[in-house]
Point group: C2
Chain length 234, copies 2
């Protein structure tokens, strides 16, 4: 029943916003006239209006109209009635705070599980995991919970970065951070590199794009999973 | 009355743990026989015991004994009676969670303000700011609050990194993240590069080390502050 895409990033280096995904989105959102956009993550702090305009421009290329969730008086009803939904990237703490403040986490989960086509990029993908514990974002605001939609049986780490060879910086690598998480939790984490996305149709969870994704499980060595592999075993 | 050092990092590339700070620490902790170490941040998830041993080794070079806070039945009393205190780096979310869980945030703030010599590195410096909203760490656990010690009138961003020239990675730069914070809060943020530390003696807040530090204020251009400058105007 589920029809979900969760992408590591909205934008590839040198490309336009959502550009690399457009052929995929055309099929994913087939027969959709109007997409509901959740602009809460506000990348670089841009306004809901600005963000919705940017998304509208991208989707106009595949003839889909976009309306921002902030335009609706009753956002819960807007989600329930949406033909399709897209949550954009930005700050995951802000996104999750706003979803809880507006009491929308449960209804969003329900409609996605019931089959409303969904797209997430970056922070909007992060919330597809069980919790937001493995976001890369700065905790600019405290949400009431780190629990998220749980569309996946595991967590995501979008914009996954391999350790920089020869780096002299002493801050933690991404892998170190994820290992620290696994001292606190047994939830598996998928490091999704820029250009990769997950396609969750019914119960299949397929890695798409050209790169491998790195799967971290508590007390196990991380493994590289190839495009086309199905993560429904997790 | 205050006698505080807040360092960006414990370790410089190619150096030993706390090595670059030892001459400074020798003076800072003059006449201290036993240092109380707060190991809660658990870098890479190491145990409190392992972490305390590592710190003990470093301080043995300047003839200071180290005891871990986890060794005490009554940690509040241990903090009240400590000759000097050091909070090590690791994960700020875990550190702040544990401080709140053990009801130690207030007592720690009180003894530092009353003059107990204090050292923080990385996560242990982060908590010297007003809030932990500008940590770089992964939110592996949800603390009950992001409010921290407020030894400083502003927040820190340790391990501050300048944007990488020519990077093709599309994740947010540190500066973008801090700007996102300033859409939510007016608390100034100091980006402290590795090798820099703040010396807070009485009401002076001096930048030490050889590098400049980057000061971000809401709705203003960031500015570079030089070593030796006093940030007591913030």
């Amino acid at each position: 029943m589920k029809k979900v895409l969760l992408a590591s990033t909205s934008t590839l280096y040198g490309g336009g916003y959502l550009e690399y995904l457009l052929p995929t989105l055309k099929k994913h959102f087939e027969n959709v006239n109007t997409l509901l956009f959740i602009p809460y993550a506000r990348p670089s702090g841009i306004s809901h209006e600005e963000y919705t305009m940017k998304v509208g421009e991208a989707f106009s290329k595949i003839n889909i109209n976009v309306r921002g969730l902030h335009e609706f008086e009753n956002p819960e009803k807007a989600i329930q009635e949406a033909e399709a939904i897209f949550t954009g990237g930005g700050n995951t703490f802000l996104l999750v705070s706003e979803l809880y403040n507006n009491n929308l986490m449960d209804v969003l989960k329900k409609v996605i599980n019931d089959g409303t086509p969904y797209l997430g990029t970056s922070a909007g993908s992060n919330i597809g995991g069980k919790t937001m514990n493995t976001t890369n974002d700065m905790p600019i605001i405290l949400p009431k919970s780190f629990d998220t939609l749980g569309i996946l049986n595991f967590n995501l780490n979008p914009h996954y970065l391999d350790p920089l060879e020869g780096s002299t910086h002493m801050g933690e690598t991404r892998e170190t951070r994820i290992n620290e998480f696994h001292k606190q939790s047994s939830i598996p984490v998928l490091g999704l590199r820029e250009g990769s996305w997950l396609e969750i149709y019914d119960n299949n969870v397929i890695i798409r794009g050209e790169l491998t994704a790195r799967l971290f499980r508590q007390n196990e060595f991380p493994v590289e999973m190839s495009p086309g592999e199905n993560l429904n075993f997790i």
